[in-house]
Amino acid sequence: MKKKIQEAALTIPSFVWLLLFFLVPTLLVFVLAFRPPDPYGGIGPGWTTATIRDLARHPYWVIAWRTLWASAVTTAICLALALPSGYAVARASPRRRNLLLMMVIVPFWTSFLIRVFAWRSLLHPEGPVKKILVLLGLASPQTPLLYNNAAVILVMTYTFLPFAILPIYAAAEKFDFRLVEAARDLGARPLQAFRKVFLPGVRQGVVTAVLIVLIPALGSYVIPDLVGGPSSEMLGNKIAQRVFVDRNLPHASALSVVLILAVLAPLLAVLFRQRKKEKPEIILEEGG
């Protein structure tokens, strides 16, 4: 009993932190979504559901849909790259492994904003990437590399890839690679062994990677703003516009609420499924 209290006491600082800087602001956003705006960028008196209802009348569907698929594509590409990377890093010798992990982490030493600007100059019509592509005959001088959806997805993938590699690596590092040999021994080709044994073995890492990429991708704002064009705006940009341009906090909040719920729904679904899966196994183990 005393131990339990001590354990609980240890969690208090992080709990307070979450309460102050996560829960309270989120609740604030929820509250603001139901307050009327005043013409000067402030909050009017009373309560209203008009803002939420108004959302449907704005042409947000296009942007919401784009936000969703751009994030989904980014997540898929990140996974496709992170799985073989995580596998390779986990299989490398300890010395090489540290070097490879270093290379994954090094980008974090530079500010995110600066890295996005770097991409802007890389992809610039006069930039090096464009010149090389044209030289190799892979792009015509007219092909735009910047200010379109492809650029947004490219830079998002670049930004989020380390977040996908790290959890998959962490899972792969604990994975028993003799299982892959066992699969090969039983007749599986290399890719079959990867899919049938390695993938289920690092499932937890894959789930984490998906959440950790998809959720911030859905909330992207800087990347589409800097490398995207007018037709690659995402919900994040709209929210920013409502705040900074329209100075309509309730409207921005209402949009945020929709986004938060959209993010929360799959997260809760995953968590709930895991709970359900864990319970019967525990009972079985006690029985057996």
């Binding site: 299982l179 040999e181 066992a182 699969a183 090969r184 021994d185 599986a188 049938k196 044994v197 499932r203």
Partner: protein
Amino acid sequence: MGEFLEFRDVAKAFGPIQAVDGVSLEIKKGEFFSLLGPSGCGKTTMLRLAAGFETPDRGRVFLDGADITGLPPNRRRVNTIFQSYALFPHLSVWDNIAFGLEVAKRPKAEIRREVEAMLRLIQMEDQAGKKPGQLSGGQKQRVAVARALVNKPQVLLLDEPLAALDLKLRQRMLIELDMIHDEVGITFLYVTHDQGEAMSLSDRIAVMDQGRIEQIGTPAEIYEAPRTSFVAAFIGDTNFLESEVADGLDGEYCRLRISGFPDVVAYNDKGIRPGHPVFLSVRPEKIRISRDRPLPDTRINVAPAKVEDVIYLGPTTKYWVRAGGQRVLVLRQHFRFFLDEKPIRWKDDVWIWWHGDDGFMLEGFRKGDEKLVASPPQKVGEE
């Protein structure tokens, strides 16, 4: 019937370590063949070469007449039972066993039939739905056997499959493995460092040391006629007597001179010439011990000795005796109710003797191999 699985002058190094060092080996179809040797002698590497997880630096591997040296594991008709079992933790027992058949895209009905037959063979029909994490060590081992056998491999490779089990279970699985081998008639290549396992299961044994094969033969040949000091010492206990061939006797026998010990008669099947140094290996259970001097015989070697230590082992008793300059280990079964004499005790004066045919002149001798023999207690019982 010729060789079925053949290693021809195979070598494999890992950096500076020569794990397998020029091994040639021929295993017959249907045979239960064991690789026996101490940890680190290259047994697992041999299995991995057969399974296709390693490619040899030199030499070839043949299976049923075909060169399989370059084939990947999935294209060899051999299956492995791994030391750690390596069952797929996310799959049920049923799915583990079905894995190979499913990868081979066999018809559903056939998969079902084969898996059910395997579950019956390992007597685990009622456990098919369990995950490996819910099984005991012995059950895991049986699933690993079934998962491999269901593919009807030409050779089954087993890497110390019993090492992780406790003694009683190990003895039971030993019998089960033997029965399974009889039932399926597949060639088994069995790796172990346990001489008891190898002896009781194998048709033939290859004794390995430091990446080389020391001797190949039936369990009886290996035990009764060891060629090198390593084989003599690794398989069971033995006494090494450093000697020199004095002169030949009638037939194939010769007289050996041992310092501080009466001359000894030995069977000289290797035709070693007088004047050559040679090591004689005599198994402790081949030596008799008694208070009374045995009747003289031209083929019997007799020496007076003093008992320095007595170790009671239950079914047998070990005696360390000093005969001249030699410490000799003698193993004796005792018959509590048929005592021919009163028990031999510490410090007693005794006679030891053995028949000339029971001493083996070794072809190869390495000084370090003496350490493999249970070392005599030093300075015990000496005032």
